[in-house]
């Protein structure tokens, strides 16, 4: 049987991979995918915690956490929609999706 620690480690690794993608990749689309991975890592931990730490009252998983997961998924979708719209607008104006090309604003 997998334990809670298994899930948490896997979720931590997923978060780290996402974070690594955000920090190291230069393509905004890929950075965005990395951010999605991070959010999903949080979802995984949340569901794991909710399943493993049963409520003492009725011995059921804490569904509040799953509601939060639901909200996170919704928000992530909205964020993707707005983000991609901004990226498309940027691409139309500048023909690039690379972070290094974002240099209009300088010190």
């Amino acid at each position: 049987m997998p334990t809670l620690a298994h899930y948490l480690v896997v979720s931590g690794l997923l978060f780290a991979i996402g974070l690594g993608g955000v920090l190291l990749r230069r393509n905004i689309l890929i950075i965005f995918m990395g951010l999605e991975l991070m959010l999903n890592a949080a979802n995984l931990s949340l569901v794991a915690f909710s399943r493993f730490n049963l409520l003492p009252a009725d011995g059921m998983p804490n569904y509040n956490a799953q509601v939060l997961v639901f909200f996170i998924i919704t928000v992530a979708a909205a964020e993707v929609a707005v983000g991609l719209a901004i990226i498309v607008a940027l691409f139309r104006a500048k023909q690039t999706t690379h972070v290094e090309d974002l240099n209009t604003l300088k010190f």
């Binding site: 896997v10 780290a16 991979i17 974070l19 999903n40 919704t74």
Partner: protein, 167 residues
């Protein structure tokens, strides 16, 4: 059996996640992302969170990924040319990620409460849609409304930002 499934899907998920950030072609990255999310949905199933698993597939694999692929095709992005990766970025990223992982592993190792097998629930969880629904509409009515406003704003914003010429 559960452990085997867990490992299978977890490793798949992590491998595809690595693919997302390592592959050079945006289309391959997006496809890896989809696979990673589907594996994640399977991991959710091992946690008896069926509703979340279904939503995961529907929203991410169904909607978000299509959006990503659509944008990649629309913008006609090609595989990245090999760009020189700066050492400082790698170093900084490595430190942040390494710090995060080491802190996490220390915590996981030090907490005995985390090393317990899955406890049994008092009732079967087959109808967890109903349970999530109860929680959502009974307790979380207010946040739900806020999310509604958020989606409205996001819709308005997407229309504003992506139309070529506003009327």
């Amino acid at each position: 059996m559960q452990l085997a499934l867990f490992w299978l899907f977890s490793i798949l998920m992590l491998a595809f996640a690595l693919g997302v950030i390592l592959l050079r072609n945006p289309v391959s990255s997006a496809m890896s992302l989809v696979m990673s999310f589907i594996s994640l949905a399977a991991v959710f199933v091992t946690l008896d969170a069926y509703f979340i698993a279904v939503v995961q597939v529907l929203v991410y694999a169904g909607a978000v990924m299509v959006l990503f692929l659509f944008i990649i095709m629309l913008l006609d992005l090609r595989a990245e040319k090999r760009r020189r990766v700066r050492l400082s970025a790698w170093l900084g990223g490595g430190i942040v990620v390494g710090g995060f992982l080491s802190a996490l592993s220390q915590i996981v190792v030090s907490l005995p409460a985390l090393h317990v097998p899955k406890p049994d629930v008092s009732q079967p969880l087959a109808n967890d849609v109903a349970l999530v629904g109860f929680a959502l509409f009974r307790n979380f009515n207010l946040p739900f409304q806020i999310i509604g406003v958020l989606l409205l704003v996001a819709t308005v914003g997407v229309v504003l930002l992506s139309r070529k010429e506003l009327k």
